[in-house]
């Protein structure tokens, strides 16, 4: 009797620990090999056959097709340079320059990876259409209400994700995160 109770306890603990950790790992986004520059993070191996089992499980679960490394690199940003989560009710400025690439795109998604509807139907900028300063740098106003220049509307959602994709770029698995690559700064300027 005592043995059966013990076994039962053991199995219940095992189920909780096992399934609980799996759920936490897949929903909180545990992934190895993160390549971080500023507020931006890419998982280079997710675009190759060497993708780790956690990322593999996450992709199978959310239905995403990761950008292949021979195509480009996707950098995700979920918070600004001070670590504050990106909030669609605030005015956020993305400014600076990107690493070398033939083309790049910057796109705003909700946290599920869906585009957000807005009156001017703008969800992204490409490197070709963005308005630049004289020195080649750019400044994007990510804000709920209309702004002059490069305005990327947030639709007022509580949380959003910015994706900067570099296409045909020399940055790769051998690149070290560091001074030689510069990514745009993300700053929250005002919140209601």
């Amino acid at each position: 009797m005592r043995f059966l109770l013990g076994l039962l306890l053991c199995l219940v603990v095992a189920a909780f620990v096992g399934l609980g950790t799996t759920l936490v790992a897949l929903t909180s986004g545990v992934a190895f090999g993160a390549f971080t520059i500023g507020s931006w993070t890419a998982w280079l191996k997710n675009g190759t056959a060497d993708i780790d089992p956690y990322a593999r499980a996450m992709i199978a679960r959310n239905g995403e097709l990761p950008t292949g490394l021979g195509d480009g690199i996707a950098f995700f940003a979920r918070s600004d340079d001070n670590g504050k989560p990106l909030d669609g009710r605030c005015d956020v400025v993305v400014s600076g320059s990107t690493p070398q690439a033939r083309f790049w795109t910057i796109t705003l998604y909700d946290s599920q990876g869906q585009l957000i509807g807005n009156p001017i139907n703008r969800q992204n900028f490409t490197s070709q259409e963005i308005i630049r300063k004289l020195n080649g740098d750019f400044e994007i106003q990510v804000a709920p209400r209309a702004r002059a220049g490069n305005w990327l509307p947030t639709g007022g959602v509580a949380r959003y994700v910015l994706l900067l994709r570099l296409y045909d770029t020399p940055i790769g698995v051998t690149t070290r995160a560091g001074r030689e690559v510069s990514m745009p700064a993300i700053t929250t300027s005002s919140c209601p």
Partner: protein, 182 residues
């Protein structure tokens, strides 16, 4: 008594670790909402079909890049290798290969291919091993891609650098072909 309880708890935690690893490894095989399953109803096997661009109302997969026109060839190599030919658009074109479970095992862009048309032969490792010797020699100017799985996805994407060039990007993809080799 206390000692025995601790032993049972420790055993439970160890077993939990095993369950964690097994579920993480098995999850991709049991997923019903992965990219392949989402695309299967709208993509016939071994032919290139355009995929609707993502909008705020509907996107087939999460995190699709709206600056691109996209076409998919859902392939099945069980009857033999496939030939893929994708003309390149003026701006930027790429071809990415995914396994049944969404692993991006190979990707190439127009510049790396170095031609006006990206031409590739897709086959399994076993099919490649069966290639006659002399054919392997001429393979120098043939790009052969080995698929780790018998079925999977080829995603052909053409960039529209401005919204106005989306039509041209789509038209380029409409000429892409994937078909069994003769």
């Amino acid at each position: 008594m206390m000692m025995r309880l601790i032993l049972w708890l420790a055993g439970g935690i160890l077993l939990g670790g095993v369950i964690h690893l097994v579920t993480v490894l098995l999850l991709p095989r049991t997923a019903t909402q992965d990219a392949y399953s989402r695309l299967a109803p709208i993509t016939p096997v071994n032919s290139v079909v355009p995929i609707p661009a993502p909008t705020a109302e509907k996107s087939i997969m999460p995190f699709m890049d709206p600056a691109f026109a996209t076409a998919v060839c859902r392939y099945d190599l069980t009857r033999g290798p496939l030939k893929l030919a994708a003309p390149v658009s003026p701006a930027y074109t790429s071809v990415s290969f995914y396994t049944r479970n969404g692993v991006a095992y190979y990707a190439i862009n127009d510049r790396a291919a170095g031609r006006r048309v990206i031409e590739l032969d897709l086959m399994t490792t076993a099919q490649r091993a069966q290639l006659p010797e002399d054919e392997d020699v001429t393979a120098a100017d043939r790009l052969i891609v080995e698929s780790p799985t018998g079925v999977g996805l080829i995603v052909i994407r053409a960039l529209a650098p401005e919204p106005g060039s989306m039509g041209a990007a789509r038209a380029t993809l409409a000429q892409a072909k994937c078909q069994p080799q003769q």
